[in-house]
């Protein structure tokens, strides 16, 4: 244990005398925390989209019976998540998209109200993209989402208008049309009056069957029109999503990003420090001196892993503390953050010493650490269903034998209460520590 303490002191002194590395360890968490905090606490910039409304102000209304809907009144509601740049002509809209001034153009054609009012033809809004795959995908999803919302709003309005007419037909009331107001009797009142007339008529009256058939029609109409109102409401939004999360609490994307950022930082600090500091012993030729009975291999590995894990844990905790200035994190769970960060750091550091034992110099160790870690991060974050099931099984196995995924799950569970819980992930990490520890020990032989 004394040897571990002396080696730790020596390595801390070496770190302190490596100004670039020390600066990186201090500034990296601070800079990353501030950037993530700013990114999460401020709304993103809106995509600039050229906007041309060809509907003349006098023709922007559509008539649905006695009700009039102003299409232009929906403009602000529909496109509030886009930065609309008004243009005067189609040519200007296309030019703006072509030269990159805007990422897309939205053109509302002049005949839209007419098409909507008649319902004979589909109503279109023209969208022009600039051909860049990323931009197109970004703006297309935003616009399609907004058009979906527009359709829903119009359908709701139509449902309201149609529902009003059905109520009038059923219950009666006043109807204004072409400046005139009419009293509508309504089917329920008609049915009652017809029933009263039938009751007063002798059964053998020649008009009885004819009035009875009209009364019967009124009864059927009252029953079925009441149902049709509900049917119209269902047609306006036939299927709605009711969200349920089977895998623990839902993690907001913002907080998910925090957990990813912290875990990636733990991984880089641990892998680079642990592998680098072990490789440094070989680079300085001190490895042979230490290994000839001065320090046991297990102590040497533990010292490097401990150094890297402590540095990474400090970096990870500092990041969370920094991010919490911008985003509300639950400080009551800070103890659990520390446990998750420490467990993740130890697992990464053990992998780091296993890698460091394979190489003879610091540069090779750093390169190896980066080569191993980058693909693992991407693989671990591949969501289920994004790739073929067989391939996903391979990815799951690969992700399970390296510490990124369980470390991420531990941090995510500690910060966001996601599932699986912290302790399950820590159990997984403990198994990996044992495995990589054994590999590191074998790597130091010879």
């Amino acid at each position: 244990m004394l040897a571990l303490r002396w080696l730790l002191g020596k390595d801390l002194r070496i770190l302190r005398r490596s100004p670039v590395l020390s600066a990186l360890l201090i500034f990296y968490p601070a800079v990353v925390a501030v950037l993530i905090g700013l990114a999460l606490s401020r709304s993103p910039g809106l995509p600039r989209v050229a906007f041309l409304n060809e509907i003349a102000p006098s023709r922007s209304e559509i008539s649905l019976g006695a009700t009039r809907i102003d299409i232009n009144s929906y403009e602000k509601q529909l496109f509030h998540s886009l930065a609309l740049v008004p243009v005067k002509t189609r040519a200007q809209a296309l030019a703006d998209v072509r030269d990159g001034t805007t990422v897309a153009a939205l053109i509302i054609p002049a005949d839209l109200p007419q098409r909507l009012a008649t319902g004979d033809e589909t109503a279109f809004i023209n969208v022009v993209y600039n051909g860049s795959a990323i931009n197109e995908s970004l703006v297309q999803s935003a616009i399609e989402a907004k058009l979906g919302r527009a359709n829903a709003l119009l359908a709701a309005q139509l449902e309201k208008v149609a529902g009003g007419y059905i109520n009038l037909l059923l219950g009666g009331g006043k109807l204004s049309f072409l400046g005139e107001t009419f009293n509508v009797l309504g089917l329920r009142a008609s049915e009652r009056r017809l029933d009263a007339v039938l009751a007063a008529l002798p059964a053998n009256s020649p008009v009885y069957p004819r009035i009875a058939s009209v009364a019967n029609f009124a009864k059927i109409a009252v029953n079925n029109l009441g149902t049709s109102k509900r049917v119209i409401g269902a047609v306006a939004a036939p299927v709605r999503a009711r969200n349920q999360f089977v895998n623990g609490r839902r993690t907001a994307l913002d907080f998910y990003a925090v957990a990813v950022a912290v875990t990636v930082s733990l991984m880089f600090v641990c892998l680079l420090l642990a592998s680098g500091m072990l490789a440094l012993e070989r680079e300085e030729n001190t490895f042979g001196r230490l290994r000839r009975g001065l320090v046991r291999a297990e102590i040497l590995l533990a010292e490097k892993a401990l150094l890297a894990a402590v540095c990474a844990a400090v970096v990870g905790f500092a990041m969370l503390a920094g991010i919490s200035i911008f985003v509300t994190l639950d400080w009551a769970r800070a103890g659990l953050w520390l446990v998750a960060i420490a467990a993740g750091s130890i697992a990464f550091a053990t992998l780091g010493v296993a890698l460091g034992g394979l190489v003879r110099d610091v540069r090779a160790a750093s390169l190896l650490a980066l080569l191993v870690s980058f693909p693992l991060v991407f693989l671990a974050l591949v969501p289920a269903g994004a790739v073929a099931p067989g391939l996903y099984d391979v990815i799951r196995v690969l992700s399970a034998v390296f510490p990124f995924k369980p470390a991420f799950e531990a941090v995510n569970a500690a910060v966001n209460r996601s599932s699986p819980g912290v302790w399950v992930a820590i159990g997984h990490l403990a198994a990996l520590v044992a495995g990589f520890g054994a590999l590191a020990r074998v790597g130091l032989r010879g």
């Binding site: 002396w6 020596k10 002194r13 300085e284 001196r289 009975g293 001065l294």
Partner: protein
């Protein structure tokens, strides 16, 4: 002759299929200075690292009297370039579990003439001074046997002279010395006995005069002729 302080028995080392050293046996007496000579790739460094315990033999064994320390000065400096001379010496004195680390460090700074450079980082010292620190670290624990691999390779003539003076003092005090060298003249001047290695094989163990035999040349030419006669 004093009892042996180090004994190598049928030592061998393989790296995969390559045999780096085979069946090397010898004994070292207390206070003796032994030179290991041979061409490049002969196995000199491998032999010294096996004797030092820095690597494990594939065959055979190394034995030393219980409790005796073996000091090792590897061919390439094995010290921390970001630490000062003093910090390096202190660290290794502690790791070697020297009884009085500070006293041992003071003695070594004095004997190697490094006191004025004690606070300088190793990375800022000349190759010769780094090698002096390397030697100082190897001998810090006042070992019964000191193994030095090409100890004078990066030293200037004045530093070399000082090194051999220092080693001589140690040997007279009872420390057994084994050093590997390419320099036949150095072996002739300082070693009482030589081991000749070639391609991992021990070809000769004895005095240099015995090696010269009746070859009648200068020592270096006699050594080359000896190797040629043995097929190397």
């Amino acid at each position: 002759m004093s009892p042996p302080t180090l004994r190598a028995s049928s030592l061998g080392k393989r790296f995969g299929d390559r045999v780096a050293l085979r069946d090397v046996s010898f004994e070292l007496a207390g206070g003796e200075i032994l030179a290991v000579i041979g061409p490049n790739g002969a196995g000199k460094t491998t032999l010294l690292s096996l004797l030092a315990g820095a690597s494990t033999p594939s065959e055979g064994s190394v034995s030393a009297p219980a409790g005796e320390r073996i000091g090792w000065v590897p061919q390439q400096t094995a010290v921390y370039s970001k630490l000062s001379v003093l910090e390096n010496l202190r660290l290794f004195a502690r790791l070697e579990r020297v009884g009085d680390p500070d006293g041992a460090v003071e003695t070594m700074l004095e004997q190697t003439g490094l006191r004025e450079r004690a606070d300088e980082q190793l990375g800022r010292l000349s190759g010769g001074n780094r090698q002096r620190v390397n030697i100082a670290v190897g001998l810090l624990a006042d070992p019964a046997v000191a193994l030095l691999d090409e100890p004078s390779a990066s030293l200037d003539p004045r530093q070399r002279e000082r090194l051999w003076e220092f080693i001589g003092v140690r040997a007279r005090a009872g420390t057994s010395i084994v050093f590997a060298t390419h320099n036949i003249a150095e072996a002739e001047r300082y070693a009482g006995r030589v081991l000749v290695l070639a391609d991992g094989e021990l070809l000769y163990g004895g005095t240099l005069e015995g090696l010269r035999g009746d070859r009648g040349h200068d020592l270096e030419s006699a050594f080359v002729e000896f190797l040629r006669e043995r097929g190397h």
